[in-house]
């Protein structure tokens, strides 16, 4: 406790108090205008590290979401294509069944051969499907077709696939890569072979019934691939939901760390303003009071 209070003490205390309150006022003002409580690392060093970490996490989750989106679109397109290929195989089997027994006319066989040829062309076209210029059954490679054309010299179902043997995976989380393509040859060679056999049987006078089993087997292959695609698509969709949830959590936590509590800040600002006004009023009154006003020297 100070026993003597001089004019200098009063002025110094007044200046110190006003300076501190002005600083608090500026801090509250900055928090309100920026809506941020974390404006520099020293405001909350642990919060700054947390903010860095959460921002990195949000960027990472955003990148994973991009991968999931790419994977979903590729697998979704594959699912559609595989459905159409399955329909082609079913139609080919119908044709083969309808021509069994050797009671058909040569014209009917010719018509059927033409239809099967178109089915084979359609199948090869579907196998060459691209999304955004990338072959969904060719390891997402860009560029020319990954399956040979029926019109190519020396076309053979066994060598029709000319795309990359590698599959394409995306990173859906820190620990999980999901394959979003299959080797096109593995997927379609049995189907192309079965239809090609049927076409050649129809064109060469063979018995189309022999193709029924291979067509069924090929359709089974397609169903299996479609099931695999569906499973991976489902994983990606689940992952997409998880990422959405994790992103929301990261953003909420980031807001907790960085954002100002506006109600609290406004209350603080009001308190500081009251204290400042009181200090200014009291200080100026005290400092204007002097013994000289009362002396008659």
């Amino acid at each position: 406790m100070v026993s003597r209070v001089t004019e200098r003490t009063l002025i110094a205390d007044f200046r110190f108090a006003v300076s501190r309150l002005r600083q608090q006022q500026a801090d509250a003002q900055n928090a309100l205008s920026s809506q941020k409580r974390l404006r520099e690392a020293s405001d909350d060093p642990v919060g700054a590290a947390r903010s860095t970490s959460l921002r990195g996490e949000a960027k990472e989750l955003g990148a994973f979401r991009d991968s999931v989106t790419l994977g979903s679109s590729a697998l979704g397109a594959q699912d559609g294509v595989l459905g159409e290929v399955h329909d082609i195989l079913i139609r080919a089997r119908e044709i083969a069944s309808s021509l069994s027994g050797g009671l058909t006319t040569p014209e009917a066989r010719q018509t059927a051969a033409e239809e099967v040829t178109e089915l084979e062309r359609g199948l090869l076209s579907l196998a060459n499907t691209t999304v955004a210029g990338r072959h969904i059954f060719g390891g997402l490679s860009a560029g020319g077709p990954v399956f040979a054309s029926l019109d190519d010299v020396g076309f053979s179902p066994a060598t029709a696939y000319t795309g990359p043997a590698d599959t394409f995976s995306v990173r859906a989380s820190r620990d999980e890569s999901i394959r979003i393509t299959s080797n096109g040859g593995d997927v379609f060679t049995s189907s192309i072979q079965a239809i090609d056999d049927l076409r050649q049987a129809l064109e060469g006078g063979g018995d189309p019934v022999a193709s029924l089993a291979t067509l069924e087997s090929a359709a089974n292959d397609i169903r299996q691939e479609r099931a695999s695609v569906g499973g991976r698509l489902s994983r990606l969709q689940t992952r997409d939901q998880e990422i959405g949830s994790a992103l929301l959590t990261a953003k909420t936590l980031l807001a907790d760390v960085e954002d100002a509590d506006i109600t609290e800040t406004i209350t603080q600002l009001a308190q500081v303003q009251n204290a400042l006004e009181a200090t200014l009023t009291a200080g100026t009154t005290l400092m204007q009071t002097t013994i000289l006003d009362y002396l008659r020297l």
Partner: protein, 461 residues
Amino acid sequence: MALFAPLSIGRQALLANERAIGVTGHNISNVNTPGYSRQSPVLHASRPDHQGFGNGVELEAVLRSVDGFLEARGLTSASSLAGATTGRQLLDRLQALFPVGDEGIGTALGEFFAAANDVANNPQDLAVRNQLIETGRTLAAQLRNAAGGIQQLQREADQRLGQAAFDGNAMLQDIAQLNREIIAAERGGRETSDLRDQRQVALGELAKQLSIQVVEQESGGVNVFSSSGQGLVIGTDAATLATELDPSELGLDGNPISRIGILARDGGVISLSGDVGGTIGTLLNLRDGTLADDAAALDLLATSLRDSVNAVQTNALGRDLDGNVGTAFFGGTGAADLEVALDDPRGIAAARGTNLADNANALALVSVAQQTFPALGGATLGDYFGSLHARVGQEARRAETAATIEENVAAGLASQRDAVSGVSLDEEFTNLIRYQRGFQAAAQLINVSNVLLDDLIGLIR
């Protein structure tokens, strides 16, 4: 003779009160003088005559109101406050190199690996590859800016040492000169209160530069030592603070940094030892400790990033868009000169094997973000930067807190010093009235004595 006694007493009282009014006036006129200590006239009754009758008043001395402990504490506080304020200034600028939010290195790091993930998703897309190179350039530029900023701060701290030595020398000369004047004045029996105040102010200014110990001598002079006992002022001799570039100590910018110390007779510089304190101590601590450590941490982050990314990029199995093994992505020796060495987006080795649509190498690049590094204490690049960011924030916050505490301590000490040594105009004007009344009463005493003498002389007439 007894009738002349009141005249003599009155004359002495007039003189004593006149001197007391002078002292009060001196106090009033110095009400705003920094470091001034109020003075008090000490009046005492004159020795009685041989019969034991009182002989009036006389001014024995003029006392300087000071508390030696407070003065010494004030010097310590001045050192701490100056050091803390310097630390706050520089560390506030240091933390500005590491902004919070989207502009920071942490965000740039995240964007770089997000771009790598885009390449993994679209390995043949040149636009996406270009984006990876651009985000790499942004990241490298941010690391360079931070490292360059730390270099500049270190160089500034080094240059400020020269200024601190220059300012300190002016004070050392003043203190030695004031010692000389005080010793001479006290030998002659003259008042030295004002000279002592001036010397205390000079000591306070010197203490801002470095911690000092002050030992008062019987002669009235003071000897001043650094905290480790190196003599700065001995009696009337002042040492000279000096800086010299030390070719064996290089700063972060590769140029020599200064050694600060006391100039020896042979022209060499004897380094200040121990905990130097004050502005100089803080500058040395920041230059050789905090800033150097933070720069080293940033370098470690940059080289870990460079090496891990380059290891993936130059993997023997990796292939760029032309089917070649990749070349280094990042170049440079540390954070200060980190740059993207790759200009051609086709040169990014995203594939492994001959299939150029493959993304296995790009996925390996994405994995670098999750890789932990023994050199970084088992942390990932992002986590390590986060801890560095927190450390810089802690340093700035600690400096801010220290400065605030020292400001409060200094304000408290100033109040306590003012309570002892400060001039209160209320007091001084009250004293003025007191001495004025004393003077008037003494004049009246002389007047009455004069009348009595007149009456006595009138009897003779």
